[in-house]
């Protein structure tokens, strides 16, 4: 059977160009120019200069927009064209003349091409079979701003931005530790991207670090633009609703995770960081739980736990109670619901489905809508639509309360992935309860819990340290006061389990 569409594989050849540089400047320059389609490609900047001090010609290559022009002029072109005959003979080599923070000697074309593509400037000298790669890269990115998704009232207000250099500095500023390691990997075959794996060497388990590196190295992709795509390449169960990687934009959270022995992954041009392995609790917690005082932090956790269950179960409990277990309702409420439902033309399940879909629609529309008209959609959707639906007898008023409550509760779930997981499973519970009532909900909960127990993220059980049990600082549904959290969670298998000495009460207190 011949394929309907013929794949054009011609250009897809993996040209691993191991070609070494020639001893001839002209030839080298011509090779680079052909590779970058110069002069058709205006992106490549090519400049010839004459190096006075060694009386040789030199060529400079860099890409417009990726390199810092001022640095190139001040640190490369100017020093090279200067007369430095006063300098001692042995100091007269190119590496000493060029004033840059980092300079490498490269002798393969593919290395040179890669370096040009990350914004470095290549200096080729007549009679040299090596190229000098000078770090001049400079990309445009926004300034450090407040996090958008993970807001806190108390705590730092910095978020990652689309520059790994800045992101790393945000992290290092919080973790001044000599064992904080940044490893670089390159991924993508056609467009190269740099991935940084960050961990604390004497805390993070080497098996987990290697597993992360292996998974990243195994990726076969043309290109990976952002860390969000990378997340989907390395996560555990791609078809599952359960997320197995934490995706955060807060450097303070990442720093806290690193100190527990987790591994973080940063990527160039992505304003987020992946943390792995994760458990349910990492997704459920926010930074603020720890920043607020003990009682307040626990209070907001209780609220979030309740809202998680409200978001997951309220509509299905309403269906179960109103179609199967009407004796569970207080008589007053029962009669009130019955009265308003008398003229509603649909069964409860259809009614709930209409409203739930309408709410999800509203939510999606609210995100996609251009910002200036954003507030309008809230008013139109929530007030007018809900009110009109009730007045037109399409839904009963109690349902509006239930859907609104469910929607509100779902906004309290902090993590984006967990949020989706809850919102989608809500519909599954809806179907189960409309068929089997409370029995269906219970069966659904049993299935969900047993599934969650089976999920692992990089070898760590999803519900650890609760089930299975591991020694930890008991930072799960509730948390202990900060000074009592003296051990690192054992399920991440850190190399060092003890954070500090076990606290002992002082006799005079």
């Amino acid at each position: 059977m011949s394929p309907f569409f013929k794949f054009n594989k011609e250009n897809n050849k993996n040209e691993l160009n191991k070609k070494v540089l020639f001893n001839n400047l002209e030839k080298n320059a011509r090779y680079l120019k052909t590779t970058f389609c110069y002069p058709r490609n205006k992106g490549l900047i090519f400049r010839e200069i004459y190096v006075k001090s060694i009386n040789k010609k030199a060529n400079i290559f860099f890409i417009d927009g990726m390199a810092n022009d001022k640095n190139i002029i001040d640190h490369i072109i100017y020093p090279l064209s200067e007369d430095i005959s006063t300098l001692k003979e042995e100091a007269k080599n190119i590496k000493n003349i060029i004033k840059a923070k980092d300079i490498k000697e490269l002798d393969c074309f593919h290395e040179i091409i890669d370096d040009i593509l990350i914004g470095n400037t290549i200096v080729l000298i007549e009679g040299h079979s090596v190229g000098f790669s000078v770090d001049t890269s400079k990309f445009e990115h926004r300034q450090v701003e407040k996090p958008i998704r993970e807001n806190v009232i108390k705590g730092p207000q910095e978020g990652f931005v689309e520059s790994s250099q800045i992101n790393l500095s945000l992290l290092r500023k919080r973790l001044r530790n000599e064992k904080l390691i940044t490893e670089r990997l390159t991924i993508g075959e056609r467009s190269k991207s740099v991935v940084e794996i960050i961990y604390i060497d004497d805390l993070a388990n080497s098996d987990i670090v290697n597993e992360v590196k292996d998974r990243i190295n195994e990726i076969q992709a043309d290109t990976i633009h952002t860390i969000d795509i990378l997340e989907q390449h390395i996560e555990e169960r791609p078809y599952s609703l359960v997320p197995t990687v934490l995706y955060t934009e807060r450097p303070d959270r990442v720093a806290a995770f690193l100190m527990e022995g987790h591994v973080a992954v940063l990527m160039d041009s992505s304003s987020d960081c992946l943390v792995l392995p994760v458990t349910f609790w990492s997704l459920f917690h926010t930074g603020e739980d720890m920043y607020q005082r003990w009682a307040y932090g626990n209070f907001i956790r209780i609220i979030r736990m309740i809202s998680l269950f409200i978001a997951l179960l309220t509509p299905s409990i309403y269906i179960a109670v109103s179609t199967f277990h009407s004796e569970m309702l207080p008589t007053d409420l029962l009669l009130a619901i019955t009265a308003t439902r008398e003229r509603v033309p649909f069964p409860v399940i259809i009614e709930v489905m209409i409203m739930e879909s309408a709410f999800e629609l509203l939510r999606e529309a609210g995100i996609r809508i251009p910002t200036p008209i954003g507030p309008t959609i809230g008013i139109v959707g929530a007030l007018i639509l809900g009110q009109a639906a009730v007045e037109a007898n399409i839904v009963s008023p109690i349902l509006v309360i239930i859907v609104a409550l469910t929607g509100l509760a779902s906004f309290a779930i902090p993590n984006n992935s967990l949020n989706f997981m809850i919102r989608i499973s809500r519909f599954m519970f809806l179907i189960l309860s409309s068929m089997l009532g409370a029995f269906g909900i219970m069966a659904g909960i049993a299935i969900t819990v047993s599934y969650l127990v089976s999920v692992k993220s990089f070898g760590v059980p999803f519900l650890a340290p609760l089930a299975p049990y591991y020694p930890s600082s008991k930072d799960t549904i509730f948390r202990l006061p900060v000074w009592m959290q003296w051990i690192r969670p054992a399920h991440v298998k850190p190399k060092n389990n003890i954070r500090k000495k076990k606290p002992r009460g002082r006799s005079n207190q």
Binding site: F324, T331, D332, L335, T340, R341, E342, R343, V344, G437
Partner: protein, 411 residues
């Protein structure tokens, strides 16, 4: 692919299994009260009071002239089969899951058919055992039709609230189907059911505040319902009634009760014609000792009671005088003891049944249940030697300590 097909089949089977007893709320008619009267032959007249959901809800505007409930009476062999028969006029499925009250006419309660009624009750899963039993002096149908509460628009609320209220005041016993079945199956004592009627019958001029039975209270205005006192049921039949005061005393002497405080009046020991009003608080469980070693059981009951004296018509200053207080305590104890002994004698001689649940205390004296059953408490009780001893503790005298100086005002 195979996995997909299999899971599709599994999901389909889920759709086939479910939904079989799903019923939308508006497709059901909620019976709030059930009434039963003796009918012709083997049949009963069964009355259903079905709540109208629209009345009293936000949807009231759409049903302005509708009554709060629909009352239908059918002649049917039992409560369950009558449910379908009611559908000759009711378009919704009749549901008992929210029925609060079960009203039985005195006539039916006194006949031998009374127990048969409960046979149906125990088997139908829809009927809750928390339903209250009310014995009505007249026909249950008339009771339901003429009970017109003014404050509560919806009938179920009326039954719910009055149940709570009367339970707290101690004027009627707590009589649910569950308790009834427990008492009857024990076969050792009597059961007290709420006794009620619509309208006044023979009013008593001086019943104090609680020496009334249903229908005897001189009351005008409002709903004509009167619910006070209890019907005594022994071995599946109603054998007599007791009044409100007797019911209160029973509650004080029982090993477990829900009512814990109420207002009552007692004669003032210094001026017999004047009375005191007190709030009485049951303090812990009474100590009940039953000696079954002799042929006649010997029952000693020690009932601790706290009192707040709230009104003294005699204007005697009890607050400042410890001696007077002691005398008052003794007097009230004497009054309570005397009244309870009269009640015990009534139970022993007239009713011939243990309405105090003392059989529960007696049962502890036996090693096995068959031994207790052999002892035959129901026959032994009328011969029992009963000693009742109240322990009254006066805790306070209300907000103001000194009585009003009556002489100064009169001058």
């Amino acid at each position: 692919m195979r996995f997909l097909k299999m899971s599709l089949l599994l999901i389909l089977s889920l759709f086939l299994t479910g939904c079989w007893d799903a019923l939308e709320l508006e497709e059901q008619a909620y019976v709030v009260a059930v009434g039963m009267d003796l009918g012709e032959g083997d049949n009963y007249y069964i009355t259903y009071q079905i709540g109208n959901p629209q009345v009293g809800s936000s949807d009231r505007a759409n049903a302005e002239r509708e009554p709060a409930s629909e009352i239908i009476t059918v002649l049917a062999p039992d409560k369950i089969s009558a449910r379908e028969l009611a559908n000759v006029s009711v378009s919704r499925r009749v549901t008992f899951s929210h029925a609060k009250t079960f009203i039985i006419s005195e006539e039916l309660a006194k006949s031998e058919k009374f127990l048969e009624v409960f046979e149906a009750v125990t088997r139908d899963p829809q009927i809750k055992r928390q339903m209250d039993i009310i014995i009505s002096k007249e026909r249950a149908e008339d009771f339901i039709r003429n009970n017109n509460p003014v404050l509560e628009t919806r009938p179920h609320k009326n039954y719910e609230l009055m149940d709570e209220r009367w339970k707290a005041s101690g004027l009627v016993p707590a009589s649910t189907i569950n308790r009834f079945l427990q008492r009857e199956e024990e076969d050792a004592g009597g059961f007290l059911a709420i006794y009620a009627t619509i309208g006044k019958t023979d009013t008593k001029a001086n019943g104090m505040e609680d020496k009334y039975k249903a229908g005897e209270v001189d009351k005008t205005g409002g709903n004509t319902l009167q619910m006070i006192g209890a019907a005594v049921i022994k071995e599946g039949r109603m054998i007599g009634t007791i009044n409100g005061e007797e019911n209160r005393l029973t509650l004080l002497l029982r090993p477990h009760t829900e009512a814990t405080s109420w207002y009552a009046t007692y004669p003032d020991p210094y001026k017999k014609e004047k009375h005191l009003t007190a709030r009485i608080l049951r303090q812990g469980k009474p100590k009940i000792k039953v000696d079954v070693s002799q042929s006649k059981p010997i029952i000693t009951v020690e009932a601790p009671v706290k009192m707040q004296i709230l009104l003294m018509r005699s204007f005697i200053d009890y607050v400042d005088d410890q001696e007077k207080q002691k005398f008052l305590t003794k007097a009230i104890e004497g009054y309570l003891n005397e009244a309870s002994m009269v009640l015990v004698k009534k139970a022993q001689n007239e009713l011939k049944v243990d309405i105090f649940q003392w059989s529960l205390s007696a049962r502890k004296e036996f090693l096995t249940i068959p031994e207790f059953e052999d002892y035959n408490w129901i026959d032994k009780f009328p011969q029992a030697d009963v000693r009742v001893n109240f322990k009254v503790q006066i805790t306070n005298f209300g907000k103001q300590l000194k009585p009003i100086n009556i002489n100064k005002i009169k001058e």
